[in-house]
């Protein structure tokens, strides 16, 4: 364990806090720009998410009269706090080690569900019927994408655990360390189905088309966050940006953490490039080429394809070791 000063630096400046927020917002800006170019629009400038946030923080906060104030106020903080902690659990190979303790993958799994839970709490506390619909949809979405995620994590943990002489390793730093020595899991064919399953999981958890069902703008007008305004809404947006960093970072750590070399700056750029590629594959292209599906269709989809893919990897891992 690092000392307290180090921890606070990690939490607030790098790789969590400031760095992650800037990275997440920048990724969102890039995503919006690419989508706009796909649709033959000019699109907003890359810094648009930043000025959106600044504008939001200057706006008045309006709380519905019938809302449950405490829950309504705590929900955005809950999601944000969860994500800011989650960011420092993710190692950046060659740059940052992560918090090296043996169960960090499990902690991360719990933290990952916090933004969705925050949305549910906020939505139901807002007392709006759209919030209520959003609540139930968020719940169904969570149940559907958590299963494949669990299976993928289990597969990776088993793979690394079996190779290093244990049963399963729920430690991200060990998983990354293993890959640095024995080559990335990306190049192991038994892990490819799991990787694909994880790529399908990303748009679901990030809530982008076709899986933006809990917040579907044209159906239930943003659902849970409909009643939020001002800096509380800004917190939700920040949570989303951080979540993008966490989810993409987890994908990189699980499957392709290999750094370029010894140079820290170069490694950081390489890490950013991996993020970009993942972002385009799993979010940008998906969201430009599809329409939103219904919640029942999404539920069936997640229980079928990603789960099956993850199971294939799991079985292959168990058989081949």
């Amino acid at each position: 364990m690092t000392d307290i000063g180090h921890l606070i630096f990690n939490l607030l400046i790098f790789p969590g806090g400031l760095f992650a927020i800037v990275l997440g917002l920048l990724l969102m800006g890039i995503d919006r720009k690419i989508v706009a170019r796909f649709q033959r629009r000019v699109g907003p400038p890359l810094y648009q998410p930043f000025i959106d946030l600044v504008k939001l923080t200057r706006k008045e906060i309006i709380v519905p009269e019938t809302a449950h104030l405490q829950a309504f106020r705590l929900a955005p903080l809950l999601g944000f706090a969860g994500m800011i902690v989650a960011v420092i659990l993710i190692p950046i190979a060659g740059v940052y080690q992560g918090l090296e303790f043996s169960g960090d993958l499990l902690v991360l799994l719990y933290l990952l569900s916090l933004p969705a839970i925050a949305l549910m709490i906020g939505g139901s506390a807002s007392s709006s019927p759209f919030g209520a619909v959003g609540f139930s949809r968020e719940m169904v979405m969570m149940m559907s994408y958590e299963l494949p995620l669990l299976l993928v994590l289990l597969t990776v943990a088993l793979k690394v655990g079996l190779k290093t002489g244990g049963i399963a390793t729920f430690s991200l730093s060990k998983i990354v360390g293993f890959q640095l020595e024995n080559g990335a899991l990306l190049f192991d064919y038994t892990m490819l189905p799991a990787l694909v399953a994880f790529l399908i999981f990303i748009p679901g958890t990030m809530g982008v088309v076709p899986f933006d069902i809990p917040e579907a703008e044209t159906e239930i007008v943003e659902g849970p966050i409909l009643e939020y305004s001002g800096s509380w809404l800004a917190l939700f947006k920040l949570t989303n940006a951080l979540k993008m960093v966490v989810v993409l970072g987890l994908a990189v750590a699980l499957f392709f953490p290999t750094p370029l070399g010894e140079n820290t700056m170069l490694n950081l750029l390489w890490y950013f490039l991996k993020y970009l590629i993942l972002l385009v594959i799993s979010i940008t292209i998906v969201r430009t080429s599809t329409g939103r599906i219904r919640i029942d269709q999404a539920f069936k989809f997640y229980l079928k394809y990603p789960t099956a893919l993850a199971l294939i990897s799991l079985v292959l891992t168990l058989v081949k070791g």
Binding site: F38, Q39, R40, R41, P129, F130, A132, V133, S136, R137, V209, P210, D212, I213, A216, E217, T218, E219, I220, V221, T288, S289, T290, G291, R292, I293, R294, I295, D296, Q297
Partner: protein, 360 residues
């Protein structure tokens, strides 16, 4: 499971105009629907009875945006019936051309909105981009992107020179290929199909019972196209194929609208081919005697009926119109129950509601 009410509207992102639906849902399933209208009432019927017949031409064109051409068109037909005016043949063809161009733009807009509602924004952008071809055409020929101001009592206000005809043919040809692509997407794209197939079903017998009109009726296999059943202007000399679908769902209505665009292109091409020479308008200021008349036409959304009574002065004594949406929105009560909350805006959009016309 308990029932609760979801308010859709009066201002809702998926509705272009204010309209208030109180939807009773059980979980995510719709069980009932109540429609509250009257948010865009502007007193236009009263206003029309305060102005003279010429001023009304301008007023009625501003009744609504997407079917703006049909209102003065039908109004002129009613007036001409009362006064017994026979308009020049060229004018009849020109009226049809103006009407069909508006129909293309209107249907494309509705189709684009469908894509927007299911969150398929790339498709939305694509359809709107294709629609720009039509908008450019309107601007070039009529000088306006929305209100064409094509009709006047006894004829039309515009003429097509050879150059403009050439331009129009070129623009229509430009429209054909992207249109085929769009039809293919709406019929075969997995995401569009998953959302539109089997949604908002209006069986044929219910369609007949509610007397729905336009593409909503034709999507349920009921052919009541005024252009064929009771031809007006030049439609009796043109060959109009009415696209019929039997799917009875949102998809069927969308496909009917798309096929109608293709048909509109055909009709305009026929018009341009047989366009007779001659004047485009009568050369005198007609006097309107006392009398009453009913005229109807096929607007992009269905049958539009005008009732007009005059008393010999230049101010109409009574003017009343029945718009297609008035017939169609009651049928929502059949389409909605049993569907999911996610489908509400989709089904509302599928009747292509024009609230400005309906509540005037």
């Amino acid at each position: 499971m308990s029932t609760y009410t979801i308010p859709v509207g009066p201002l809702h992102v998926a509705l272009e105009e204010p309209m208030y639906f109180q939807v009773q849902v059980e979980g995510e399933t719709i069980v009932g629907l109540e429609i509250t209208a009257g948010h865009v009432h502007r007193g236009l019927e009263y206003l029309a009875m305060k102005r003279n017949i010429y001023q009304n031409l301008t007023l009625l064109e501003r009744l609504c945006s997407l079917c703006s051409n049909n209102h003065p068109f039908t109004y002129c037909m009613a007036l001409e019936k009362i006064a017994g005016i026979k308009i020049p043949e060229r004018a009849e063809y020109l009226r049809v051309i103006a009407d069909e161009i508006k129909r293309i733009a209107s249907n494309l807009f509705n189709i684009a909105m469908l894509a927007h509602i299911i969150g398929f924004d790339s498709l939305f952008m694509h359809v709107m981009e294709v629609r720009e071809i039509v908008q450019d055409t309107k601007e070039t020929i009529y000088g306006n992107r929305m209100d064409l101001a094509a009709n006047c009592i006894g004829g039309v206000k515009y003429d097509l020179s050879d150059e403009k005809i050439k331009y129009l043919i070129k623009q229509l040809d430009k429209l054909k290929k992207p249109l085929e692509e769009i039809i293919d997407i709406y019929m075969n794209n997995k995401f569009v199909r998953a959302r539109t197939e089997g949604v908002g079903i209006l069986p044929k017998d219910e369609a007949l019972r509610y007397g729905v009109v336009g593409p909503v009726a034709r999507g349920s296999g009921v052919n009541n196209d005024v252009r064929v059943k009771s031809p007006y202007a030049a439609y009796d000399r043109l060959k109009v194929n009415v696209p019929l679908e039997t799917g009875c769902d949102v998809r069927a209505r969308a496909i009917v609208r798309l096929r109608e665009i293709q048909e509109a292109i055909n009709i305009i091409q026929q018009c341009l081919k047989d366009l007779p020479d001659g004047p485009t308008c009568i050369d005198y200021l007609p006097e309107i005697p006392a009398g009453e008349a009913v005229a109807k036409s096929e607007a992009p959304r269905g049958e539009l009926i005008y009732y007009l009574r005059t008393n010999g002065s230049d101010i109409p004594e009574r003017i009343k119109w029945r718009v297609p949406t008035y017939m169609n929105w009651e049928a929502l009560k059949v389409m909605m129950p049993g569907n999911k909350v996610a489908d509400i805006p989709l089904i509302i959009n599928s009747i292509d509601p024009c609230i400005s016309c309906t509540e005037r």
